[in-house]
Point group: C2
Chain length 433, copies 2
Amino acid sequence: MESMTGIKPVRVGLIGLGTVGSGVVKILQEHHDDFLRDQGVDIQLIAVASTDPAQAEALGVKEIFSTDGFKVIANPDVDIVIELVGGTGIALKFIQAALDANKRVVTANKAVMATSGHELLAVAGSKGLELAFEASVGGGIPIIGALRNSLIGNRIESVMGIVNGTTNYMLMRILDGLSYDDALKEAQELGYAEADPTADVEGHDAAAKNAILTTLAFNTEVVLEQVYTEGITKITPTDLAIASQLGYVVKLLAIANRTPEGIQMRTHPAMISKSHALANVNGVMNAIFVVGDAVGETMFYGAGAGSGPAASAVVGDLIEVAQRLTYGNLRPYIRFGTEQLPLVAIEDIATRYYLRLTVPDRVGIVAATAAAFADHGVSISRMQQADTAFGTEVAELIYMTHPAREGDLQAVLAQIKNASLLVSEPVIIRVED
Amino acid sequence: MESMTGIKPVRVGLIGLGTVGSGVVKILQEHHDDFLRDQGVDIQLIAVASTDPAQAEALGVKEIFSTDGFKVIANPDVDIVIELVGGTGIALKFIQAALDANKRVVTANKAVMATSGHELLAVAGSKGLELAFEASVGGGIPIIGALRNSLIGNRIESVMGIVNGTTNYMLMRILDGLSYDDALKEAQELGYAEADPTADVEGHDAAAKNAILTTLAFNTEVVLEQVYTEGITKITPTDLAIASQLGYVVKLLAIANRTPEGIQMRTHPAMISKSHALANVNGVMNAIFVVGDAVGETMFYGAGAGSGPAASAVVGDLIEVAQRLTYGNLRPYIRFGTEQLPLVAIEDIATRYYLRLTVPDRVGIVAATAAAFADHGVSISRMQQADTAFGTEVAELIYMTHPAREGDLQAVLAQIKNASLLVSEPVIIRVED
């Protein structure tokens, strides 16, 4: 073992003492000597900021506490700023200010990375600074590191991930028979879902992670607004039961594919075979399935959220940046969407589809709906009429299609709606084979 | 994008043009410009060596070919030596010679890393050189990088891996009903098993990877000889069918646990619950399940062998080393077993056990065997007599125990053997709950 003498301290400022920030403080307190001995870095937490002094008190960091994040950044002794505030408001300003002040930055902020990551990394790169963001996708799962480093010998063909634990938990419980509302309520009671669950259940959280994964996997410049996004709010126990009978499970997936026409990028519920590696990822766990031309199929699995997992990723980043500061001026990582590959419009993406149509129970209704598929060239692979109670005035028609363009499928649905053949909104789930 | 001008070439010599070496050459040929543009490294393959000139001819590298690996190392223009010969003979000499000549080294050699990795990394570290070995475990799965970098904020609690694809394939086929011999023959026909399958089926290959994983996960100095190792040669379809009835699958596992008494390190077939993340890793795929105090449960999945996957890992390492050469003198990685934690002897490790005893079919035989368990304090959780054909003179007794010390279990078996209660060797499979 080499001597400790002469290792220059790396001084860290931390903004945000919530769940993840508290986890980071605890790791730095417990493992300082391990990191010094094993990783050769002397990490000193010298400034923290949050809105709540009680958090700092509880963590024993009251002496270095401030309620002003900009004070942490302005502290001339701070080498690295950790941003754990979240959101695109003040958090973005903190990151910009830190880079302006020539500080290295570590963040867990998926929203900022999915909307402004490209610009921020360009600024960081031009100044020779690191901006590290492993914790922005998949909690403690080292997927960012894998795409940035270990897998760089590959041309990545596709990325498919379960990157939102809340909805993954809810889908598991809906499959158990709970209604969507009951599954949501349970997730909220367990602390998995926020009081306002919109970001999770509408797919926005998964879409932000999708934008980051797509940017890294294909080095193409995309932002959150470009991700086609559907949530899980229309999913019912009926759909999941039928999917199960057909050999599928339904997962909210972040999908990015390389095709000859360009990059496909979409976030929506999808049926995958029960034998797919992602099918057994249950509860709040996350997993990202990556296919590269050399490595073939790989999967990365772990807890996608929570104090420990996210803190693990933040500290992993922090040590890497600290080692660069301590031992050399390695070129900072800048390959975050430095190219612009064409994006395939959602209308032009072809998948198989599951559709559940609730229709009036009358003679000729099956023929009328089936004709709409034929009119737009969408081939049906399977059709069944779900059991309905005697005397019910509606029927449920389940269609599975062969691969069809989204645009054609939408035309089918428009025709069916225009002919007043539906008594409620159709349920549409794509099938990823 | 920054200018390409002035990027100093990194010159690489490659020894070994077999499956993996060919894959590496192809990636370097196809992706040179990508690596220059995206990773900022100008990688030039300037020397290759192997025993077979035809390989070099086929890859279009005849002009830089030699049959003498030491010539590649002695080439003063070579900055990085890639060793893909394998084994602990000449390959070890190549690595030592390369470090002696102040070359950085990338290797896929599990045998060398499991036996001499500690010494080699100490030499490399003292000279400020890198010795990278991602491809030594899990093919293209970036498990080494995860343990070295992304997960360093964690105190690793356990590592459990399916790290040998050949035996994983065979166990799948034995579960399908094939005999051990037929499963082996099929694996050989498919190219998954060597003509001499000893290293795979006796667990030596998995044990070498276990030594490397244990060293990294706990930073403790261990070598291959210290890994308790059992292979799969005694496993029958009967055992796998019974395991399945009980809710388990049998996998050859590399296990390393941190316990208050020290590190447990063992490689053997084990029953794991069908609901465990590793249970669905089938065929020749590999997966490594890691538990850390912060990150919780994580798993890394992918192809554990083959040209593409291993080449992916080698090139990932190569680019990282090349970036360090090009952009700075970062401290090389040296934390490979720099400490000596106590190892728990196999006799002192407690697990649950499955035992299948083939005994004479006579009155009192169950009581006699059961008494042996009682005599050594091993508690039985379940016992059943397997169906045997009428008129057969032997019976099969299946015991499942509560957690018991290996030493006590061996004493039970010794007593049963000494009393001549067995008509053939017992089958013992540990249960990992």
